[in-house]
Symmetry: C2
Subunit: 645 residues, 2 copies
Amino acid sequence: METNTITGTTVIDIPAGQSPKRNWRQWLIGSPLQTGDAPKQTIGKMIGLAVFASDALSSTAYATQEIMTILATVAVTGVMKFVFPISIGIFALMAIVTISYEQTIHAYPGGGGAYIVARDNLGELPAQTAGAALLTDYILTVAVSVSSGVAQIVSAFPGLYNYRVIVAVAMVLLIMLINLRGVKESGTLFAIPTYFFVITMFLTVVMGFYRFFTGSLTTVINPPEITAVQTLTVVTPFLLLHAFASGTSALTGIEAISNGITAFKEPRSRNAGITLLWMSGILGSLFLSISFLAGKIGAVPSDYETVISQLARTVYGNQGILYLAIIAGTAVILVMAANTAFADFPRLSALHAGDGFLPRQLTFRGSRLVYSRGIVSLAILASLAIIIFQANVTRLIALYAIGVFLSFTLSQAGMARRWWKSGHLKPGEEIVEPGSTVIHDKNWKFKMVINGFGAICTFVVMIVFAVTKFKDGAWIIITLIPILVTVFFAIHHHYKELAHKLSLEHYSGIRVDHQRVVVLIAGVHRGSLAALAYARSLSTDVTAVHVSTDPVESKKVREKWTMYGEGTRLVVLDSPYRLLIEPLLDYIEKLLAIRAKNEVLTIVVPQFVPSHWYENLLHNQTASLLRLALLFKPGLVILEVPYLV
Amino acid sequence: METNTITGTTVIDIPAGQSPKRNWRQWLIGSPLQTGDAPKQTIGKMIGLAVFASDALSSTAYATQEIMTILATVAVTGVMKFVFPISIGIFALMAIVTISYEQTIHAYPGGGGAYIVARDNLGELPAQTAGAALLTDYILTVAVSVSSGVAQIVSAFPGLYNYRVIVAVAMVLLIMLINLRGVKESGTLFAIPTYFFVITMFLTVVMGFYRFFTGSLTTVINPPEITAVQTLTVVTPFLLLHAFASGTSALTGIEAISNGITAFKEPRSRNAGITLLWMSGILGSLFLSISFLAGKIGAVPSDYETVISQLARTVYGNQGILYLAIIAGTAVILVMAANTAFADFPRLSALHAGDGFLPRQLTFRGSRLVYSRGIVSLAILASLAIIIFQANVTRLIALYAIGVFLSFTLSQAGMARRWWKSGHLKPGEEIVEPGSTVIHDKNWKFKMVINGFGAICTFVVMIVFAVTKFKDGAWIIITLIPILVTVFFAIHHHYKELAHKLSLEHYSGIRVDHQRVVVLIAGVHRGSLAALAYARSLSTDVTAVHVSTDPVESKKVREKWTMYGEGTRLVVLDSPYRLLIEPLLDYIEKLLAIRAKNEVLTIVVPQFVPSHWYENLLHNQTASLLRLALLFKPGLVILEVPYLV
């Protein structure tokens, strides 16, 4: 207990009791963690790679195939020779983006997602745009990754083709549960399959090159049916750009580490930066190798068998244990790639919410210290996307990468602007921003050029993507992002206005001088008399009100009231139309109209409290109806006094 | 204003304001009626016949066909010759029941439904059983009548066959609307089609007999496909009883007038009794004629064309205007027959509710003086029955008549007992019962024999029905009625116990000596300070409570509180698991445990009041959650003080 020596106000601290009781939720997601446990929940580089790289690495499972799917729409022999050159273009883009993000990670040790970088350097509108792009992107990451994972499984077990949507949704819910347990546990859980994938994939690629150089690599035996429809007869620049756009899905997930820097062990920036380089190295080499080998073996794009499956069975010459290992590894990493989004979406939406652009409840950390509401929201939205697009990767991809490149562009542009600011500071000067502090950097020109070049490249790719894939579904995202940004600003406006209204500036005290109390009386019995006793303890100005819908009943109330009403005046409202709420509202409004300054009107409603919820069906819900009708009146308080107080 | 001269209690009467404003509901169901208007809402014999006889008369549309449907399951030529003898048996039963009910109507001028007669003479259990039987019966009346009406329409327009369920449900909703307007208006609306049906049906029958006696009546040309499956090879007594049971559906609706006596103009009993005789006369003659003619023309039972349709096109020799008139007349009276149930179900359920065996809300009369909740409940339940049984008359009939005959039996048995009581009274003596007064009747023995014989006959028919139709669906009703009776008694027990608890016997006054007030403080702002001001006006014993989930936030609250808390003590509850409700519940329970006698604990929750419902999504619903968690605690009142009081 402490008492302020000036105002005399006493503050009493009550420590927490024992930890909450176990129930089914704790059985599912684990025992609660204390707030003080939070900083310990960080991870090293090995587990960091597993948690944050699965999204990026897993895109090797579909990026090559998506390039081929677009090329397959042209009826020209040998069109697949463009796959490798396009892949080299994408590899170059990947290198540019990686270098750009490497600078971001070191500049923002507290987490440098596109949202924070844009907010600190470009302003609120670009920041909210980046945020909206990223949030939709995370939802699609889950949908695309899980759908592609299911497609791998279907390649090995064609009988599952008709159940792909339900299997995909079940997987999303499983990942949700794992994430509700918390990041550290899920990191350990995910490390084994991520490394299993990396090893089996490298093994396949190395084996492929060995057979290629020894001349023993054959083409695909019994290739699956091509599902693309041939609509063109010549190879146009538009077609090549379209295929390139599809392939850029390989870049998705590169930003994951920069968003999640705070999850790393100290020194955070260094650990995160090294992890990013590892990740891009693995991603680039695998992607290029797969594109090269897929061309050599004459793989075809199909809904029934993935390119990875065709490559594996051609390289190994059979569908034995090694084939099944790579299919399993790919499927599992894809499904787990969704985990990246489950790590980032809740964190980003909590950031938005903390800044007042999303509902505040998203900042609430659940019993396991994770943003549970964000995790559950993501699972629901991703499941919806899977159901709407029937777990079809190609249809989902058309919506996917545009948000990624929009956030890349804003993030790199923000970084370029930051270096410009840095260059105009004198050594020792600093600008403190919410995300990080800007200090003078002598290499600011070089760094600004790198980030500026990254911004220009990703902006051009975004435009290419939007134009070439507009009809395929990109229009949905192009429409959605402005709507989301508008909603974010509307929410922000609401919170800002409320904060202004509640602010204690120019506060001169609020006083309640007079309590006018009205007790509703349906009948005279112990319940209503208890409410009367309560009302009389609140104020000396108490009026009982009875609505008369039945003259016989009313007569009884009048008679009993003279005996039991303890002298309290009774007002009988005549209701010839047998309405209950309306005459009361009328009366209450009249009382509010004559309300004095600093007077509060309190309505006391005697309320039956059931032992079982269904007993409510046997009673009128007057209090609830009244509450609903009077919700917006100022100067009015409604309270229910339970029968048998 | 009147002041009691002994206790000094003042009662103020406030007359009603203007009638309620017009809105969409009034546009649909008409302007509100005052309670004082009620007695004017009565009807004469002509309209009484239209309102109450449509159920009984309309059963001529399907009773003959249902006999044939059962006979068609035997593969014996000429089996249809049994239709007419079975119909004569049913006609005899009809006469017995009519005479029985004639006596009831004169003994119970206040309405002598099976429920009232059984309640006054046999006791609560038989009364509730009769009530349960009748209520299920009314639901099925709506389902059967509307389904058969749609079957008539499908006969003339086969293209509608696949839409029969949706058409039937739409019709139920239309009848519901008409009934929500009130009985007088619906009576006028229904008189024209009822008489149109009676006239066209008699015209068809007379024409049929004319052609039969002149020898020009042919058999049905192109008879429809028989939909019954032939499972038997010999005519067994069981088969004949089964067919008889199906035909007894012709008797349904005979009791309607005795339930609705109060709706008639004075002298009620006389008017109602004459109407009953008219009704039975029309019903019996039409039913016998249709059964006779259907046999002569060789009509067959089918789902695709009704027997009435076959009869009409054979009698008229074509499908011209007269054919369409009889189909339309039959369809409309069937759909309107459902109206009988809409007149009786709400009245009976209000009776049950008034006696405390159904939720009290069913006694509430809506703005048009009808029991609106009963009407809406009936529409919902009947629509469900139609959807479940796919508007198939034969399947619904198996559930139907058992409840009717159970209530017939109980009603007649009750009447027999009443005459016995009457015989043992001296002239001039009387027994006053809620439903009517028993006086000495010199013909008591004769009247007792008539009702007793009626009871025995209907009891035997009920057993026949239950046995022969058990597997077809009667088991559902045989199971359901005991369940309903159990629920009725459970509801009764609840109300009785509550009334006992609330009773003012041995009442020695309730006092509230001390108010302990707790204000929840999430942050210190105008909203919470308004709640504090309110709390301080209730009591001098005020404690502010803050749940600390975030140390930074808590520190701010402490600091601001010493400035703005007006010296009120602040309790800070530490919540390391970031739970909000649980630490509060803990604290409140501790306060309740040390509660003194006559002390009340009041929890004040500052509450944001949104201008739009969706703004609620942006705020925690602490007050609602708390209310839910604390609902069952005695000695506790929760109230919300809106921000910006």
